[in-house]
Symmetry: C2
Amino acid sequence: MANDKKFVEQITPMDEDFARWYTDIVKKADLIDYSSVKGCMIIRPYGYAIWENIQRLLDARFKATGHENVYMPMFIPESLLQKEKDHVEGFAPECAWVTIGGSEPLTEKLCVRPTSETLFCEHYANIIKSYRDLPKLYNQWCSVVRWEKTTRPFLRTREFLWQEGHTMHATREDAIEETRRMLEVYADFYEHELAIPVIRGQKTDKEKFAGAEATYTVEALMHDGKALQGGTSHYFGDGFARAFGIQYLDRDNQLKYCHQTSWGVSTRMIGGIIMTHGDDSGLVLPPAVAPIQVVIIPVQQHKEGVLDAAYALRDRLAKICRVKVDDSENTPGWKFSEYEMKGVPLRIEIGPRDIAEGHCVVVRRDNREKTFVPLDALETSIPALLDTVTAALYAKALENRENRTFEAHTLDEMIEIAKTKSGYIKAMWCGELACEEKLKEVADVSSRCMPFGAEPIGDKCVCCGKPATKLVYWGKAY
Amino acid sequence: MANDKKFVEQITPMDEDFARWYTDIVKKADLIDYSSVKGCMIIRPYGYAIWENIQRLLDARFKATGHENVYMPMFIPESLLQKEKDHVEGFAPECAWVTIGGSEPLTEKLCVRPTSETLFCEHYANIIKSYRDLPKLYNQWCSVVRWEKTTRPFLRTREFLWQEGHTMHATREDAIEETRRMLEVYADFYEHELAIPVIRGQKTDKEKFAGAEATYTVEALMHDGKALQGGTSHYFGDGFARAFGIQYLDRDNQLKYCHQTSWGVSTRMIGGIIMTHGDDSGLVLPPAVAPIQVVIIPVQQHKEGVLDAAYALRDRLAKICRVKVDDSENTPGWKFSEYEMKGVPLRIEIGPRDIAEGHCVVVRRDNREKTFVPLDALETSIPALLDTVTAALYAKALENRENRTFEAHTLDEMIEIAKTKSGYIKAMWCGELACEEKLKEVADVSSRCMPFGAEPIGDKCVCCGKPATKLVYWGKAY
């Protein structure tokens, strides 16, 4: 039978046009498709399987830290959204509004949730009475909607999938500890599972979440030197608690307001994986979230014993990893390209000669390194190789970040670096919004974060020259 | 410290008012809460954990039968919804419409998905080219919205959680086989995991899904004798394929239309569990989906060694089931009532005397039967008891259904049974819509299903007396 898949289409080289390289990958690796719903995406099986792996691994971490999942309505009545002033100002402009239900105009319009603080607060006001009810540690997996003008798959879409943790605590200290704990859960997940190094820090007031007292963030640097906000964790103080009347009777018989946090990560993570690890042959997936960790490609599969040997390997490996045999009629060369495009971490080639010699060829996706592995050593070699791949991906991403981290001590230096390089620019800042805005205007950079425990690199604001104690990472961001 | 939880509030007895009994349980077992979003519900941690168990077990069955998960946009443009005529007529009247996005009126209004056939079809038209691309077996876990006028938690809410499978096949036979395969997956899940007997059958044309050629259903009977549609599976023929242009090039080089199915179950299942197994002490959960399968209650827990013994039991049982120790300061009596309300299948009581005698007391939730179990036999006794509970729940539900299944041979009989009894009424039907409508009018019953392979109980239509070959189960339904 004729093979109608003779070659894998090329993608735009990343150095030629990074944005086109990115959209080529999301389409050609079968991660997404477009539809007639503008600004939204279809997440195809291969893309959704990555998200399922992310969900499973994160959800286990959330449960291990005492959190429970719930499901809130997807609609927020306008009056509920308006209860906290800063919050509604931040979100109302990008809401999608339901105005008709069951053929009739609604008496109050309903916003499709952009985030669920208000719903959680209304519920918490109902169920929290005593200090014994605290802390309440809830999480929700769902989709949210923000009416963005320009969109890009995974990075910015009108609807996206995420999780949102919402917690209530007796004291400020408890809430801040939670905020930092969940930020560390994110950081650990990025570094150990996704092989993406992140900087942990605090957002400036300008960049913080609408309604929060403090926003903490993990920031990643993409291959092209642009920053990606990887996940955020917010401390709200008792602002929402006062607006929604969330009080508890303390041990001392006094009614007190609760202290609140929220924290979230989204399908953006998948965009971060693509832009951190991908190359000109396609996607490169970290083993922990790869839908297929090992693909077995039979060579000369029509010869006797080859397919059987491939299936036997698969059955053994299925006990320790996610493995697939491609026994289709496409050529081995076509299959090599296809699974490179899909970023499968390891490829096993096995043909008549390999079988005769009692080994197989294992090829790493990240650096194309080939190893001959004795067939009886696969159960130890494959997990070790998967770990090696994760470590190598992390090291390469860290090296990219280090090579793309610069320092600026004067405004001229800042402007010059922003114009000629792409990456983080470390610089001191006085704390004034005016300087932050000016840097945006003259150097087109925004503050990414103020890293925890960072050493100052000077004592004067890079912008105004006044005394400064805060070290900020500046950059261009997705 | 004073114990402020001295007693568990009572619920309305089910024989007094079944509807109030139901709403008492969903609130008092902490399954749901209401919010200011009318017609929607908050699914609380205990309720959501049941859904997570349902999802995990069903998802494994879907994947084992070759299905892949995807995620489609939650919005459907009006023009897309209108592409299949019967479908839009069925759903448009109960749609919620987004008309404003990002502060501006939309040029085309967007429906919040009530079901996603149209989105899947648009995508399938993009990606299906050849017979090699078939079958496509996709599933989606998400929430959907239908603007219901009267709502009841889990049974009928404006938003609910579900899964929707959507598949495309080369032939009519392949599609019908899939439809029946997935119906059997549902039936098997209901009977083996939820301990709910179901009748497998086909819906009449009046009751079938908007746009389907045939709808298959699993029907369960609740404790009060009202029916619940447990899950449906639809065969669409090539109707949508023609409307959306979904064609494939077959082996014979001809372009052909695909044959389609869809199938779904929802959080209604939780309502079915409550109304099948619950009693006047509260919820009774089938072990497979119970968030806590075994609760350990220390007796005289202040005495030395009691709590340690309880924790030791928990650590052993945690390897084989979902187990919790309640070491709070509430009284054992309060705890007994609390976990009865929450439907935990087994309770273990352990106090100083039990420890001295080397056993514990195990109490079944379903019939309150007490067993003394030697402490060293728990690893075998507990799984066996959980299986016994599942079997007993199933037998009891089946007995209820058998006691509540009646036969009618004349219209008068039908009216009399419908007036005086509550349950299924088996009766022959000629196949005419007019008779179906008349039975609704005069006996207030609807056709639940035409069971597969059912023996006729006569040869004349119960309504018009004309020749009839179809046996129908009639009843009142949720």
